[in-house]
Symmetry: C2
Amino acid sequence: VRVNVDGGSSELRTVWLDDGVVKLLDQRFLPFEIRIAEAHGLEELAVAIEDMVVRGAPAIGAAAAYGMAQAHLQGIAVHEAADRLRRTRPTGHDLFHALEYMSNAIDAGENPVVAADKYAQEDVDRCRRIGANGAKLIRNGTRIMTHCNAGALATVDYGTALAPMRVAKERGRRFFVYVSETRPRLQGARLTAWELVQEGIDHAIIPDSAAGHFLSRGEVDLVLVGADRIAANGDTANKIGTYMKAVVAKENGVPFYVAAPSSTIDFAIPGGAKIPIEERSPQEVLQFGGSPVAPKESPARNPAFDITPAKYITGFITEDGILRPAELRRTAKLPPLRRRKTTKRKTTKRR
Amino acid sequence: VRVNVDGGSSELRTVWLDDGVVKLLDQRFLPFEIRIAEAHGLEELAVAIEDMVVRGAPAIGAAAAYGMAQAHLQGIAVHEAADRLRRTRPTGHDLFHALEYMSNAIDAGENPVVAADKYAQEDVDRCRRIGANGAKLIRNGTRIMTHCNAGALATVDYGTALAPMRVAKERGRRFFVYVSETRPRLQGARLTAWELVQEGIDHAIIPDSAAGHFLSRGEVDLVLVGADRIAANGDTANKIGTYMKAVVAKENGVPFYVAAPSSTIDFAIPGGAKIPIEERSPQEVLQFGGSPVAPKESPARNPAFDITPAKYITGFITEDGILRPAELRRTAKLPPLRRRKTTKRKTTKRR
């Protein structure tokens, strides 16, 4: 991600391995402070993922890949490391994809640090291709709405939903982005707005509830969000609030696109109803900056994601092109026959 | 509104006149502090309305009624007082209703303090009838979703959307309320949750964006909100976010009711497109408790209301019963013929 400092700018990744230490751009302090967190071992990294030092499905996947490499260097068994990391956050799919990728690599005798670096680089490459594929949707004057942060900070670099905007900006397009603030943790207001400031892209932050107002008044041409897990049929888990935006976009004839790499697609899950939804601490809703915002007697519910059924999704912007829900299987990287068998077996087990 | 203190409870109205001073339960400090604000003159009262010391369309109407009485006692001309108060907040209709009510009363030589008290008492009576009419929608086990605060605090007392819940609770019903927090000013988390705590009604606060998650999973039986202005065709202006809830409720077959007194209905406006939408300061979105939550370079948009077209509204809970949009005219208190003429003239002027 580009970080503007004192007139110049530098580039940072969200996660990397440095002399055996996993380093993470600590997203809890942005946009006010650039702070690098360090995980010296498996438990520290797992807690960093749980506490959202790093967040965004692809970035969590890369963090887990580096965590697997670090654990191996520290003599921790592959299955033990994978078990701990698997329990950090249940909804996003890239985490499980990365654990499988690294387990296979280590089992095959590959150097785990090289494998983790390769995983991270592949994520960057996928995001750049998503950017190139999605940029054609953005013309001069296009008014885009996004939700949460699906930017460089949600990936290793470059982003998913924000990647087409980066490419369009590089190509000299002028466009505008509505950024919904994304309660309770404000990833839109804190992270997406910050990335757009770094890139010099015009935008305005809106309360999440205001999305419908702008959609219904013809002030939005395109909704563009990321994903945490996509089921085989195209049903998509993403940050809480995505579903309402998708329904209201469809109601107003506004195209709704999901930008995601193939690592986010879970072909083993047939539909959205089977995607587990993480419910986080009520304190994220009941407090703000450590101060209460509600009566002490009031409980809260805090689902972190919701499911957008495929019927509300115009298309998926992937590294392999813009696909309709029925075309998603094109991104499956394993041979179709074997993949289909695996899918059936896993699905049966889950029932 | 009931205020529980030290084991007992007392009753407060949101606004009243005490020895020539307009007193207001200061809603900016709830639920953490019970503070009474004072307006000693027209400008102080107007600023109190603008700063949301008092908010909620019916409560603003009553505050304006007392403001008109106070202004008259202080020798300020009726039209001058009405002009200043009219400029405070543009969307809610009760304000304009109250200004007309008080102007007519003063012109007719009525005692302005008696007239303002009568206006306030009529608001309470309307709310109690709304409660009785709406309570039949609430059974044991009903799971209600509301938005913003349409409670006692939004009226002189008793509330609109919360009135049926008060009556159902008095009748011994057990039910549950999802309270969306209502960014940017958190009237749901701060005010509605507080009222429900005072009444001992089960509830949970949710981020505004989480409404769709619960609606789509069959966890909500009924959405019940207030209104700031209702056009003659039933299109309804209410707190930003109402529209998205209505669309998603309809999409999931969940009934969506608007509770409002006749003072909120504007028969002079044919449809929602003509209702002016207040846009408030971007700082309400960009700051929280005085601290920034976004990059300093980022602008924000902050529409305070949105329009829910009548087609998404199952019914209006009024003091005259539960009405469908087409039946709203029943609540018109003027003779139908004269009212119809007035409507046409006003509409023409606006074009």
